[in-house]
């Protein structure tokens, strides 16, 4: 394809080119909305049918790590937005700084997620052969709060009385937990790859007030991933916290 500078031949102006690219990205994001929408639908149906198991599963998640990660991700959205602004006003050095900050915060998010996954493996809460919701309350790990654990034990016992198949239905909750957060994490990893590419471009001084479409487009993707987490956090971490 022939292009003059940053302008491809099928476009009249850089502005038209940017608008077209943005529209194309939004069309992709629509497909993403429906893709994640299907998972939220599966979640809704199963949660309404097995609310006890979902509540008990949700209470095993670490709310401090979840809420902390929400803050980290929203901060990364802010730095991403600031990277777009820096490119628009021609502050080339700031573009690099904000992109690196975004990548750093994204990496922190994924690191915390890995810690959370590790806990679930340790507590026998990964769907499959070893899945047992009564395991963790009876097998304390180093660093566990005994008060918290006693509460969890009581909860699991009460839940068992209400729903004897709690270990079957709990696996549904954790399948959705790993499926949804896993797909979200995959999107984050792809986003991190895109950020590395952007950072390379910004070091080369590629993004100017006239041409900053790649920053804008990756920004749209990054904010979309943030939105998915904004819904995942209350739905997965905050069920039945008041009981």
């Amino acid at each position: 394809m022939h292009r003059t500078g940053d302008l491809y031949e099928q476009f009249q102006t850089l502005e038209q080119q940017k608008e077209t690219a943005t529209l194309g990205m939004w069309v992709f994001l629509v497909t993403e909305v429906l893709f994640f929408g299907g998972m939220f639908l599966a979640y809704t149906i199963n949660r309404s049918a097995f609310s006890t198991a979902f509540g008990i599963g949700s209470n095993t998640l670490d709310i401090k790590l979840g809420a902390g990660n929400t803050v980290v991700l929203i901060m990364s959205s802010l730095t991403m937005a600031m990277a777009v602004w820096s490119a628009q006003v021609g502050k080339k050095q700031l573009v690099s700084i904000f992109l690196i900050a975004t990548l750093g915060l994204g990496t922190v998010f994924l690191g915390v997620k890995a810690v959370e996954y590790k806990q679930k493996f340790d507590h026998h809460l990964v769907p499959g052969h070893g899945f047992d919701m009564t395991y963790h309350p009876t097998h304390p790990m180093p660093g566990d709060d005994p008060k918290e654990l006693a509460l969890e034990k009581k909860e699991v016992e009460e839940a068992l009385a209400h729903d004897p198949d709690i270990n079957f239905h709990g696996q549904l909750y954790f399948s959705l937990y790993f499926g949804m957060t896993g797909l979200h994490a995959l999107h984050m990893i792809i986003g991190a790859g895109l950020l590395v590419w952007l950072i390379k471009g910004s070091f080369a001084g590629r993004f100017t007030p006239q041409y900053n479409t790649p920053v804008e487009i990756v920004g749209l993707y990054w904010h979309f991933v943030d939105i998915v987490w904004i819904f995942l956090f209350p739905l997965l971490y905050l069920i039945d916290r008041h009981r």
Partner: protein, 113 residues
């Protein structure tokens, strides 16, 4: 170029609003509002998502046709959710709240209206 540049002030204001929203969600989750816990949680999440779309993703300053695409995505999502959930809600089948797997009738897929 006539593109609209959103100022950092707006970005930081939206960031502050999102932080308040997050705090509010966590606080609300520990209160007992009965059936409204989920309504409150989803309302706050929707407001947060709308702020991100309008300001971080510049939807407010986008051309009309981009805004149309965004509204369409919400509309199509609503169709998918509404039609599927009405289907599940109006059937009586093996997925009953609190019914044990072992107590269910022998033929698991016999739907009784």
């Amino acid at each position: 170029m006539s593109e609209h540049i959103v100022s950092p002030k707006v970005y930081f204001a939206i960031f502050a609003a999102l932080m308040i929203g997050t705090t509010l969600t966590v606080w609300a989750a520990f209160q007992n509002f009965g059936k409204f816990n989920i309504v409150i949680a989803l309302s706050i999440a929707t407001v947060k998502a709308t702020l991100v779309v309008l300001y971080f993703m510049h939807a407010r300053y986008s051309p009309k046709r981009t805004q149309l695409v965004i509204v369409c995505s919400v509309f199509w999502l609503a169709i998918m959710l509404a039609l599927t959930l009405t289907d599940y809600d109006t059937r009586s089948h093996e997925m009953q709240p609190g019914v044990s797997r072992l107590d269910r009738p022998a033929a698991p897929y016999s739907f009784t209206a």
